[in-house]
Symmetry: C2
Subunit: 154 residues, 2 copies
């Protein structure tokens, strides 16, 4: 099998490669990053690729955009093993792991419909990352499971 | 530039390649096909790739699954120029264009909250494809714009 076939998604010239995403989470990664294709930027996604370390993994390549550590750390909530490669002229110039943030702002929606962050107020959602999930800073509601279902639509 | 770099998403062994999707519509194509990555099947997506014919196009490759004409015809509503390639052992064995269906069942949700198809009844949504959009067979509501917003979550 050639490298091309093994790669599935080929190299990009400039941008960010997010590798080792938990299998099946790529579309949730895109949602967190606010990427839906409508901006016109080139984005490639490979889902459920064979991975020695994870069994199955997803890969997301965003061309022409270098993601910041803050942006990628939020991804740790759904893809704790993800690695980030910043690419310039086809070369990886920076490598990083995602790190669990202590706080997540404006990414998740509080499931409590009476929470001030879900009303028509100019209040951004804000969750503390705790051992067993995330806790709303406004109403203390804890989201434990199925975080992706609470990702805010852009 | 090598073929690999031009391809962006490489060849698949067996499955379906949907090419010439309207730029930015790939995630809506996945939604219509009920693909979110959780089934474990390998899926590759390339968004906003340069295209002579369309300016920008998206490509979706679904490994290990041969889509039927009925399944792909629904895609014509959001990607009228899409072409379908059935691939076996890295070779294209069948090519087809999407064709505008006359009826779409179970894919779109009627925006009329009083429509019987949106109630807790065992009634599947059913829309006739008309010149300027789609018309609900139950309540005659017409969806003209932004069809993707009405795609049913699986």
């Amino acid at each position: 099998m050639t490298d091309d076939r093994k790669l599935r998604v080929s190299k990009i010239r400039n941008g960010t490669v997010i590798d080792h995403i938990t299998g099946g989470q790529a579309l949730n990664v895109l949602a967190i990053l606010g990427i839906d294709g409508t901006s016109g930027d080139s984005v490639s996604v490979a889902m459920n690729m064979p991975s020695d370390r994870l069994g199955k993994k997803d890969i997301v390549k965003v061309e022409g955009r270098e993601l910041s550590q803050d942006e990628v750390d939020v991804l740790s909530l759904i893809a704790p093993a993800a690695s980030i490669n910043i690419v310039r002229e086809f070369e990886v110039v920076e490598k990083a792991r995602v790190e669990r943030p202590s706080m997540v702002e404006g990414v998740l929606e509080c499931p409590n419909h009476n929470c001030i962050s879900t009303e028509d107020e100019p209040v951004q959602s804000r969750f503390a990352v705790v051992d067993d999930g995330v806790r709303c800073e406004y109403c203390d509601t804890i989201i434990r499971d199925d975080l992706p279902a609470h990702i805010l639509a852009e």
